[in-house]
Every structure is written in structure tokens, then in C-alpha cells.
């Protein structure tokens, strides 16, 4: 219950922002940041809670984006339905990739490689197939009406992506307190031991992969509605695979708020660097690379995890017996 309350407070604070800030630049920055947080939250489900580090979450982001765009552009399907279809398609692709990889027993380096390879295959296919617009990409027709999921104001988009992020947070919160989540964490910690205790490791990982892929796909669907354009190097490019894993790892891998905190920190630093030096290509990503290494070296549980550890350490040192009493009573 306290977890849900924390989520409500965080979302409420973020929801106030558009009332105070009217700058389109700031809102645009926040919308993109939240979109990356959403993609990262998807990664966090299978990577953080499941311990399976995917290097190819672009496969899901891109599938969500393309399905949303293709249904609208080629088949005249309503954008909201396209959006839902994109999420379902992303989840399905997650199920296929996860099913193949987990059934083959791929772990660690091998799992990272196979996910990367699937994303690359999809990228190359999308760069030549006519239905995806091949090298040119797809433009969604401008139609600023709510029923076509397009809004004049960035604030509305902000609330849409914030709602999606809230759902992502709630799913992580549910994982931490459900039987399924416990199984998933058990598999992460020691797959063989979990199986010995009767956990169907493959099925658990597969379900987590589908949820994970669907969340990241939602970020891709949102990308299309926000920018009204998609091409193969955006949809299936390595950039999104890297940002999706970077944000939860920096924020706190396998924590509810990890991806959100990570996205805010990473994107702020990236934009900050651009402000200082002008828009030089490569600088923001250089900073991401350095941060990734530094966080793994000095705070392997990420910012949220390290703060939690610090608080636990302080509690232990200065002793608030109230906490222990609660545990004993509970």
C-alpha cells in the first residue's frame, strides 16, 4: 500500500508540472524523457526483475511504432486502435523472441546477442520492405483531433505519456508484491534453485518478456503519435535498445522508480551538456557511456538502490527500533 501511495505522490507531482511550466521546449523535453522512462520500464521488467539483460529492446519499440503507423497510413485504422494493436504486436514479438531464446536455454551473453540480432534483422527488413516505407519511412497524416490521437497542446501528450508511465510503475509495484514477481526474482537470483522449488522458469521468464515487450512497444506507439514519423533507424535502431537498458540501470535496476529516475537524470545530463557546448553530435552519448560505467563501478544497484542502501545503513547505525518492531509484529 505504501508503494502505491508513493507512486500516486510522484505522479501527482509530475502532473502539476504543465500547470506551472508553459515553455514548449521544457514540455517537449519532459515528454521525450517520460517516453524513454516508459521504454526503460519495459526493459526493467525482464532485465531488472528477471535478470535477463536484453540488448535488443528496439525490436519491441520498433514493432509498436510500425504497427501503429502502418495501420493508420495503409489501412486507415483509427489511431487509438492502432495504438492498442501496436502494444499487442510488441508483446507478441516479445513472446516469439522470448519463447525461442528461453526454450533454447540462452542466458547472459547469449541472450544479449540473440536479442540484438533480432533487432538488427527487423531493422534491415524494415529498411527494404515497401510496407514500412523502406528507406524513406512513414509519415502519419496530420489530423489534430482527439479521436485521431493527435493534440495541439504538448501538455495533453504529456498527460498521456505520464499515464502510461504510471501504469508501468504500477506493474512493477505489482511484481514486487505478487507471487508471479517473487517467482521472477527467484529465477533471477538462482534459476536452478527456483526450478528445484517447482517454479516453471521458462514460463515465468516468457510471461515477463511479453509484459516487458508490451510496455516498451507502448513507448514506440507513443513515439509515432507524437512525432508522426518513423523510419527503420529510429524504430529498430541501437539508440533505443541502449537508452532502454541505460535508464533502469542508472536509476536502479529492478526497482519500481529506477527507470523513471534514470531517464530524468540521463536526459537532464544529456541536455545540460548540449546547453553548455552547443549541439555537438556525440557528446550526450559520450556522457551516457561514462555514466553507465561509473554507475556499475560505484553504485551497481543504481541511484534508487544506493539511496535505499544508504537509508538502511543509517537506520542500522543510528537505530530506529520502530522499524524492527513493525517487522516482528507483522
Amino acid at each position: 500500500m505504501r508503494g502505491v501511495l508513493a507512486i500516486a505522490v510522484v505522479i501527482a507531482v509530475l502532473a502539476v508540472v504543465p500547470l506551472l511550466v508553459h515553455s514548449n521546449v521544457v514540455l517537449n523535453f519532459l515528454v521525450v524523457t517520460l517516453m524513454i522512462a516508459l521504454a526503460g520500464q519495459g526493459w526493467n521488467i525482464i532485465g531488472g526483475y528477471g535478470g535477463q539483460y536484453s540488448f535488443g529492446h528496439a525490436a519491441f519499440f520498433g514493432t509498436g511504432a510500425y504497427v501503429t503507423a502502418i495501420l493508420q497510413v495503409h489501412y486507415g485504422v483509427n489511431a487509438w486502435i492502432g495504438f492498442l494493436a501496436g502494444i499487442v504486436a510488441g508483446g507478441a514479438v516479445g513472446g516469439i523472441i522470448g519463447g525461442l531464446a528461453f526454450r533454447a536455454g540462452l542466458r547472459s551473453s547469449y541472450f544479449a546477442l540473440v536479442t540484438l540480432a533480432f533487432a538488427e534483422v527487423l531493422r534491415i527488413l524494415a529498411s527494404v520492405a515497401p510496407i514500412t516505407g523502406a528507406g524513406v519511412g512513414l509519415l502519419v497524416k496530420l489530423d489534430l483531433r482527439a479521436q485521431s490521437f493527435q493534440f495541439q497542446s504538448r501538455a495533453v501528450f504529456y498527460y498521456v505519456v505520464l499515464a502510461l508511465v504510471a501504469i508501468g510503475l504500477l506493474i512493477a509495484q505489482w511484481l514486487e508484491h505478487s507471487r508471479f514477481g517473487t517467482w521472477l526474482i527467484a529465477v533471477r537470483e538462482n534459476e536452478d534453485a527456483a526450478m528445484a522449488l517447482g517454479v516453471d522458469a521458462t514460463a515465468v521468464k516468457l510471461s515477463a518478456m511479453v509484459i516487458s515487450a508490451a510496455i516498451t512497444a507502448a513507448a514506440g506507439c507513443f513515439y509515432v503519435q507524437y512525432f508522426l514519423f518513423i523510419d527503420s533507424s529510429i524504430a529498430y535502431g541501437t539508440w533505443i535498445s541502449i537508452e532502454a537498458l541505460l535508464t533502469p540501470i542508472i536509476g536502479g535496476v529492478g526497482t519500481v522508480f529506477g527507470a523513471l529516475v534514470g531517464a530524468l537524470v540521463v536526459k537532464s545530463l544529456g541536455e545540460g551538456a548540449k546547453l553548455v557546448t552547443g549541439d555537438v553530435p556525440g557528446l550526450d552519448l559520450m556522457i551516457y557511456g561514462v555514466m553507465l560505467i561509473l554507475v556499475i563501478a560505484f553504485a551497481p544497484r543504481g541511484l534508487v538502490g544506493t539511496l535505499t542502501d544508504l537509508r538502511a545503513g543509517l537506520t542500522r547505525r543510528f537505530g530506529f527500533p520502530r522499524k524492527t518492531a513493525e517487522v516482528v509484529r507483522g
Binding site: 535478470g51 539483460y53 540488448f55 525461442l100 531464446a101 533454447a104 536455454g105 540462452l106 547472459s108 551473453s109 547469449y110 544479449a112 546477442l113 540473440v114 540484438l116 540480432a117 533480432f118 538488427e120 534483422v121 534491415i124 527488413l125 529498411s127 527494404v128 541502449i242 537498458l245 540501470i249 555537438v280 553530435p281 556525440g282 557528446l283 552519448l285 559520450m286 551516457y288 557511456g289 561514462v290 555514466m291 553507465l292 560505467i293 556499475i296 563501478a297 551497481p300
Partner: protein
């Protein structure tokens, strides 16, 4: 029209491209065999080496084949330092952390190159860049023939290092049984770094062999490394002969695939092989055990 001469030329060209793939893969498989991680920074290091070879020619007037003798030790030292002082300490001995640290290095190196040199694609003009030898039935590029031979020389040298030197013995010992090697007094952190250095030196030599006929830009190395992953998986992770044969096979597959289906779909063929091998025979064709 499909004539056997064109087909043979395609196969020969594939073999020569494949040899350079094999060299890149050799570095990767060596690192995997000992450290048991995929080095995701391999491609970025290849791009860096391509730039180094490019600059050696541009600023110092060094022929790439001469520069190889300078760059190989430099990149050996670079690889050694990266593993000893960055990857090793940062990853706390956890495999997944190691993967992420190499990924972080890849992002850092690639974008440092982008920052410094921008995305422009550069080439160097050498007198022999486009020289060919007439074999009667077909023409083959001189510089690609040189690289074909050079790859086998490097592979032989590597084999000699592994078979005859103490360091080679220690590397093999650590690959086989890390704890036992440590108990026998081998400095594992040092051996890890030596292995990483050797793998990185392979990349530097590959870059010098590539630069006469290839181009350089900050992400030039990535194309090779995705192929090298495939080769390493195909040949069996950690297997040196597997990497050589796998490299040649993949070179031919790509050349023929490109010949029949067009350039980008030839690449899809490689990835499909990759995924199929990963899923159905992750030990690879020559690997002992996963």
C-alpha cells in the same frame, strides 16, 4: 546470366572478405574463451583502430601495412589497460556487469570518435588500392590478397604464442579452470588483461588490412562486429579454428547472398544463420560446450 566464372569470383571475394572477418572474430573469440563475456566494445575499438590507421597515413605518411607493426602493440596496451583498470574493477566479477561495461565503453568510444571526427566517411588513396592481378579467369585485388595471407600469418603467430610461451600457457590455464589457475599462482587479473590486449591487437591489425580498400567513419567497425558475433557463435565461442573457418564461411555466404539477393538481404542471411545457430546449436559447430 549465371556463369561459373562469376560464381567463382564471388566465392573468392567472399573468402578474402571472410579472412578479415575471421581476424576480427579471432579477437572476440579469444576474449570470450577466457573471460566468458562478449566484448561489445570490439566494434568501437575497430572503428578507433581504423581512425588510427587513417591518421598514421595522413599525418605520418605511414603505409597501413607498416603502421600495423606500430598499431598492434599500441592497441595491445590499450586493451590491456581497459581490462585491467576499467572493465575488471568496474564489473566486480559479475558477467552481466562486464557486458554492460563493455557496452558503455562502446558507446563512449564511438561517440568520442563522432565528436572528434564527425560522421564524415573518409578513405585513403594508395597507389595499390585498386591494383588487381589477372589470374586468367578472374581479377583479384592485390591488397585483399595481402590481407588474406596476413590473416593466416597472424593466426599462426597467435597459435605460437598460445602454444609456446608461458603467458600462452597461463591464458589456456585460466580459460580451462580459473580457480585452479589462481591457486597455481597465476595472476588472473593480469591474464584477463593480456587476453583482452591480444584480442584488441587483432582488431588493430584487421583495421590496417582493411583501410586500403575500405572506408572509415565512427561506426564503421560495427558492421564487422555484428558479423564477427555471428562467426564466433557459428564457430563455437572460444574456438580459434572455429573462428577462422566460420569467418571464411560467412564471407562466402555474404558474398553469394549479396550476389543473388542484393546487398542488404545478404546481411539478413547472416543474421538468420546467427539466430538459427544460437537457438539450435549454441555450442557452435566446433565448440566444446556452452
Amino acid at each position: 546470366m549465371l556463369s561459373p566464372v562469376i560464381l567463382i569470383t564471388a566465392v573468392l571475394n567472399g573468402l578474402m572478405t571472410g579472412a578479415v572477418y575471421a581476424l576480427v572474430a579471432l579477437g572476440l573469440t579469444l576474449i570470450y574463451g577466457v573471460l566468458h563475456i562478449i566484448n561489445f566494445a570490439h566494434g568501437a575499438l575497430l572503428s578507433a583502430a581504423l581512425f588510427a590507421a587513417f591518421l598514421a597515413y595522413q599525418k605520418l605518411g605511414l603505409d597501413p601495412y607498416v603502421a600495423a607493426f606500430l598499431l598492434a602493440p599500441c592497441f595491445f596496451a590499450l586493451g590491456y589497460a581497459l581490462q585491467r583498470f576499467v572493465i575488471g574493477p568496474a564489473s566486480h566479477g559479475d558477467d552481466r556487469n562486464m557486458l554492460l561495461v563493455t557496452l558503455g565503453l562502446a558507446v563512449l568510444i564511438e561517440n568520442a570518435l563522432l565528436y572528434e571526427f564527425r560522421a564524415d566517411t573518409r578513405t585513403i588513396d594508395l597507389a595499390y588500392s585498386f591494383k588487381t592481378i589477372n589470374f586468367g579467369f578472374t581479377f583479384l585485388s592485390v591488397s585483399r590478397l595481402i590481407s588474406f595471407v596476413a590473416v593466416f600469418v597472424v593466426a599462426l603467430a597467435l597459435w605460437l604464442i598460445m602454444a609456446l610461451t608461458d603467458t600462452g600457457k597461463a591464458i589456456r590455464a585460466v580459460a580451462r579452470e580459473k580457480l585452479g589457475a589462481e591457486l597455481a599462482g597465476i595472476d588472473v587479473a593480469h591474464i584477463y588483461a593480456m587476453t583482452f590486449g591480444l584480442g584488441t591487437a587483432c582488431v588493430a591489425i584487421a583495421a590496417c588490412l582493411l583501410i586500403p580498400t575500405y572506408y572509415v567513419n565512427p561506426s564503421a567497425g560495427n558492421a564487422f562486429v555484428l558479423v564477427a558475433f555471428t562467426i564466433v557463435v557459428l564457430g563455437g565461442m572460444g574456438s580459434v579454428p572455429g573462428a577462422l573457418i566460420g569467418g571464411l564461411v560467412i564471407g562466402v555466404v555474404e558474398s553469394l547472398g549479396g550476389f543473388f539477393f542484393g546487398e542488404s538481404l545478404g546481411q539478413v542471411g547472416i543474421f538468420l544463420i546467427f539466430i538459427a545457430v544460437l537457438l539450435f546449436r549454441p555450442r557452435g559447430l566446433f565448440g566444446a560446450s556452452a
